[in-house]
Symmetry: C3
């Protein structure tokens, strides 16, 4: 696979006479893909049924004939104002019971049947018109599901759908009462229509109730997406895709991904460091204009799994954005670094957002490759340089990693539902494991609980995995030389009960969680020999050997040959140690890396990316600030 | 009185075949009391009128015949789902106007007449069935009034009841207008039905309006409780009680307590330190796994007053809980320490919450004496040891203290209504006084404004007492050798006006508050000779002698023989000094104690409790970490 | 003009027999003005149409015949309870959709036509009765527009009025769609009645939508005010005024001011330092009991512009207030200092709030000149002393300043709508410029964009000025020797688009903003030679010379002879430097002042005010703590 570059473009924002010149400049910049259409419903259908596709016909023709492949978006993230008149109850409702009104985007409830039909209708019209158009080489359905907290809605449509969903899941209300433990606090229901959405309760609702609602809400996204997939499939041979976001975990991306051909995501490294990572001030300052060194790679690897190997960056940050608390510019070189890093992780396409900065509306302060008055923005030359780099690289194919992390969206819902300690969350835990592996110079694959493969990995980590049944335990053990669970793994059933067999309830390891503790941020439990656990402590008993102990003598890590259980949320030092122990155990080479340097192997290359603002010399390689060094593997070095 | 131990148990959560074994184990653990029933309405009456008490009959029989005395709870804190269908307007409404929905507990408005009748009905049914049952040795009415901020409701039921309450209080709307000073900002009403609840106003409502609503809301709790008392009294001779909470001050516990026989409370030392005390990080860290050294004793002493001498701990934390921001485990020894400390303060019974950790629903992460899969949790052996300790101690009776604190719930409502400085609140002030007295090794009694006794105490403190009339002043001066008021004592009338006679308006002391200042946390006013005042400064004039002065020359403490007035909110150092001066004045021995050590005298014993994680040697006694040393008084020591 | 003193008084709060004595004491204190009536609607008209002015007749007579000039307020900030019965939909609605209820004050929506008519009615009745009364020497309309966030309302009345306002502004909905860029995200409207208020949207609404709503909301205040002006003008020759607040920028004070004769404002130095300034803890502590040394002067100078030269302090803080987070007392001397400082900036009258502290209702903890029980409060003697000072000073007239700041309310709305960086706001930027000029010992005038005068100033600063057209640029260049723009000047059109001509779009300076960055608080960009920029960086290109550069080589200040553009938000050091450079350029003497000392020149005097708690020796003058030194200019010193 030869990676390519693309860009997001909005012909409807610009005079038609600019289109051809824009297309030419895109090609000159080295771009081969262009995404259009995904917010243009009011121009496709200004009033109900009044279809106006002539402008889009021409736009596709202009772009396509310039040599660009078009990704065509269905515009269902932005229903026009008239849609609301047709379906006044289509709006999502927030947890306080307020409708989330028209005036921006994503103003729909995923459970609204009328709106789903409207989406299928516009998708059909577009599919019929463009499904066989030679320039339309891919289809994007909707845009950024879940962005702006839109997965969860407390609308009447959601309420009715949730009651039906529960009926389908549980069959009888007695079964539901038992599964949820509703006898507690007399919460038993007499019929499904008595079950409300779990907001505005006096104190916290039953976690089983919340988790069911979270599962339901995730399913509604998959159903919504599939309605358009089903319409488009017969009408086109081009791949279908969606553009996911960073650290939005409200729906099961694996499930949505099953219906699509390619996973793509929207990568905003500087914004995401600023608004969605639990890191300290010093780290935020050090990487202020570069982004976190692991955040992008984490998502690249995750979405590679979601896309079953096929994935893109659909929107790549090219400069300051408009939506983070603070919006500095990338350091020179970073746009190229991010692009090449994506390629190292297997991106087929890296597409920049957007071609030209819009002078109006919400995102007018969001940089593009061109300024609003058509001058080159700083990123443009880096993109051109990246295109040259890619031409030199040629084919890049992915090597299967030795290490995998089991990633499970439902675990995030569970631990959000009942964090037990304010510092604990699933993403934070998994991300700390990922960072530790990357600091050890390792490449990492992600796995869903459904796709643990055979033959296996050397190591699989499953921290915080909420629910673990014997089938999954079996597949896990088969799938790798050493599986490392904990903390908080196997801690609940699907119905949010403590398993009858105990926690983690492993048949392969005598290890029981007798007691759980959560700790404030300034308190940690030190481990004999170094490192510490923070936030979460599983107090363990059982006959499995203690591989590490806390300084108070309780187990910090228990394990047998192929299965370990970590008792606490490791700090950075403890992670280093655990990774070293595990690597030694399974005879895996590690490459400890300095702060901000990262390493990724493909079949052909080793990529070294320097996220810092200072030069790094590592293993006899000089890597300039914000630069990438690419080593060809058949000229092997010690890197 | 020989103190005993008990436990909270939910037979409806467990298969009936486990009950007998559970009962046996309880007895073996040294428990003699068991509380049941308080959340089981949906099992007593699954649908309206369908009464099912057979399981409860059997549960009581099994427990009782094993030798346990049963506390039977009325289940009115958890109305079943069908209740809401019968009374759709029974829900409380929050300050934003949102109904507080079904799905957890305490989902009722105290002013809803229909629901009060339902509660009386189920109480009558239970009273008729179990009122003379020999195993039922006490009755708990409802559960934790005020928990989850449920005292105050902005419902239509509350609105109507408030208007009637106002009419009863003021007689005419003109009288109300005058009492509230409604001429200010043209807030005058033409009739009682024009008076709304004091939420959602443009800026703060009239404090007189808010305080009236707070008094009303408190009265509604007492009325609600009394409806069940009135039903049960003729049907049983067993004592009636309620289980109060820690630092919930939204209703007048003295008033509710007047209708009951015993006050009990639910003591969660670690959770309360974490979520409801204004202490600094270092203190929180030092006592993270022990709880604050004064928080439990404060409530023990307070509820001893509420119960007119008779009080229990109904729910004693036995391990990590689920509801605080962070939930660490108690250090070994603490469960026993908390229990013995309660006994030292006069608890008749200490009852643990709960017998076995539930594997489902909201509190599944709340530890019990047994783990969910029936293994002993760490607390079990400490409870067994405590039972042995109690057997050795035998009778423990309370000595009246030399020092008392006047505690007034309405003062808390007043100063919440108008704190004037963000750092000032009533509980914080009173608690600082209590801590100072305990640091001086003194035992403390609490008094309500209604029950200042004769003959009196050596010292009575009344810091922050909002309203002080001449009758109360008179009783106070009769009741003790030295009464210490201030800061912010006698500062308003019942109708939240500055008294015409001035502040504090004492006839026995020439001392006027001319000006009030509040200070940010980093600013304090030093006192000549040491110590400082924080948060609140009453600038005083008058001819009473200045006993202490601020370094700017203004009075910090004024007083005559039997009456002192403190001008500011003392810091720890100033409190030490004030307590020493007062003790010297009334010839009271003090025993200054090191950090974390506390001392309590009963008729027979002196208890020394070490809340720290390090051994303490004090006065020739070695007290191990988290341990209690009990000295028999007829072998007197200098302790 | 000989400055005078006054006081706010509420005869309706006190027994009539106290009035005469109060009036006598006012005169003895040296007061000549008294404001009354502005909250007394319920006493003027207890029920609809039942007019009761006899008490007010007598009050005016008592005060007037004692020698006091009366400012009579229309009571429209406090509609009585019956008004709500007549106009149930008159309440403002908050951004969450909740009506803002009766029970305090300012409970009306500016767009409610029915209420506007009621206000005109009561103003007419008062004007007819008192318009020619010889004691009524000025009229105040309403009270503190915008206080308690009351400018903006999301009511139905506001919605309808907004739609009409848009129609009047844009003519056609197509024009509006284009102006707002509604093609973005398919936000295009089909008719004006489809346009909602911009609250409760899923993510941020179109900034053009918000800014239009902010402009509309500001206009509604001016219309509301003008309705009373139009009624009163024919009925009286006395000047009409309104009392504005500190740092309330929600409406265009210049526009409201055009319809009035005098601008007045309510100056609460200690409260404002505590609750509305972005300064660090150390600064807040140093000036805790004095207020910020520039906050009062800033507003004095601003309201002098709003009043076109005529302005008062209508409410001067005399002691602790009740509404700030912390409410300490002013240091001795500060009430006099604030008063004389106002005089130095041109106040015709300084009026204290209030005569006697009210013992009831919301402001009972707000100090007055007398305590609630009629004793002198600390401020009283300072006011008496100030009266003596004024008698000595005689005439004080204002010298036009050499330096001006262009102040534009709409720029604040714009940058609130889209701050782009959490640390950036318009007031903060302008205030930092003002402080820098005052630290340099300069007097400053404010200008609105409408009144840049000819002939001009030496320097005009226009930091953060959102919109700059060629006419304004022309007038600016004509109006001064050197105009200093930036950062974020000329950045958007009136419809919140990036100008087609680029930013700042100056014809007189080759300087383009290519990229904008915002920075977190702990990050700054240093400037070669010293100082740094924070919060906001405009990255500049263009052929204009770089007068300063950042250490990364990019321009920090570009400029030609008469026009400079600042690239970032200067820190204190950079401001010093920029002011020095600019002063040198235009040959303007500066007088660098130590911390807390300020200097103001009038035609006759130089005022030196020491805001610190320590004595200052400056330029051979000794200024005691909290004191003012007044130098007569015809006895010139080097000061
Ligand atoms: Zn996006
Ligand atoms: Zn409880
Ligand atoms: Zn005011």
């Amino acid at each position: 696979m030869k990676p390519e570059l693309g860009v997001c473009y909005y012909p409807e924002h610009w005079p038609e006479e600019m289109w051809a010149k824009d297309a030419t400049r895109m090609v000159e910049t080295g771009l081969t893909w262009v995404r259009i259409g995904e917010f243009a419903w009011s121009r496709m259908e200004p009033t109900p049924g009044d279809l106006r596709f002539d402008w889009l016909d021409r736009a596709i023709e202009v772009l396509g004939s310039a040599g660009l492949k078009v990704v065509l978006g269905t515009p269902t993230a932005t229903p026009p104002r008239w849609m609301l008149k047709k379906h006044p109850d289509m709006l999502a409702v927030d947890a306080q019971g307020q409708p989330r009104k028209f005036g921006s985007r994503r103003h729909y409830c995923f459970s609204h049947q009328g709106y789903i039909q409207e989406c299928a209708r516009i998708a059909r019209i577009m599919g019929e018109r463009y499904g066989r158009n030679p320039h339309v080489a891919a289809w994007q359905i909707d845009n950024e599901y879940g962005c702006h907290d839109t997965t969860i809605s407390y609308s009447q449509a959601a309420l009715r759908a949730f009651q039906h969903w529960l009926e389908a899941q549980y069959g009888s209300v007695d079964a539901l009462n038992t599964a949820w433990g509703n006898v507690f606090w007399s919460m038993e229901y007499g019929s499904f229509d008595q079950i409300d959405l779990p907001n505005l309760t006096v104190t916290e609702p039953n976690p089983a109730h919340v988790l069911a609602f979270r599962r339901f809400s995730s399913d509604q996204v998959a159903i919504f997406n599939k309605a358009q997939v089903d319409v488009l499939r017969p009408l086109t041979d081009a791949p279908l895709l969606h553009n996911y976001m960073g650290r939005i975990l409200d729906f099961d991306h694996f499930k949505v991904g099953e219906d699509l051909d390619i996973a793509t995501w929207d990568s905003y490294p500087i914004g995401f460091l600023s608004d969605r990572l639990e890191v300290d001030e010093a780290h935020k300052t050090a990487f202020l204009q570069q982004g976190d060194p692991d955040m992008q790679a984490f998502h690249h690897d995750l979405y590679r799994a979601v896309g079953r190997g096929r994935w893109w960056v659909m929107e790549q940050q090219p400069g300051p954005v408009n939506w983070a608390p603070f919006n500095p510019a990338p350091l020179p070189g970073m746009v190229r670094l991010w692009s090449l890093e994506a390629v190292a992780h297997g991106a087929e396409v890296v597409s920049y957002f957007r071609w030209r900065q819009a002078p109006f509306a919400q995102e007018q302060m969001h940089a593009g490759l061109l300024t609003p008055n058509d001058k080159p923005a700083p990123a443009l030359s880096e993109v051109r340089q990246t295109a040259d780099d890619l031409a030199q690289l040629g084919t890049v194919t992915q090597t299967r990693a030795d290490v995998a992390i089991l990633f499970d969206y439902a675990s995030d819902w569970a631990w959000q539902t009942q964090p037990q300690g304010a510092g604990f969350n699933y993403f934070r835990l998994v991300f700390s494991a990922y960072r530790a592996l990357r600091r050890a110079g390792l490449s990492v694959d992600f796995l869903s609980t459904r796709d643990i493969p055979e033959p296996g990995y050397k190591l699989i980590f499953a921290p915080g995995l909420a629910t673990l049944d014997s089938d999954l335990e079996h597949r896990l053990l088969q799938g790798c030389d050493l599986a490392i669970l904990g903390p908080r793994s196997g801690a609940i059933t699907r119905d949010f009960q403590i398993p009858k067999a105990g926690r983690p309830g492993l048949s392969g390891l005598s290890c029981d969680v007798d007691l759980v503790e959560t700790l404030p941020p300034n308190v940690h439990r030190t481990v004999d020999g170094g490192g510490a656990a923070r936030h979460w402590i599983d107090r363990l008993s059982g006959t499995a050997p203690d591989l590490l102990t806390f300084t108070d003598g309780t187990p910090a890590l228990k394990g047998t040959d192929g299965l370990w259980y970590l008792a606490g949320f490791p700090d950075e030092h403890l992670w280093v140690w655990v990774v070293e122990m595990a690597a030694a155990k399974v005879k895996l080479d590690i490459h400890p890396l300095p702060e901000g340097l990262r390493r990724r192997e493909t079949d052909q290359y080793v990529f070294l990316t320097n996220y810092t603002a200072a030069p790094i010399n590592w293993n006899n390689h000089d890597i300039a600030p914000c630069d990438v060094v690419i080593l060809k593997k058949n000229a092997p070095r010690k890197g």
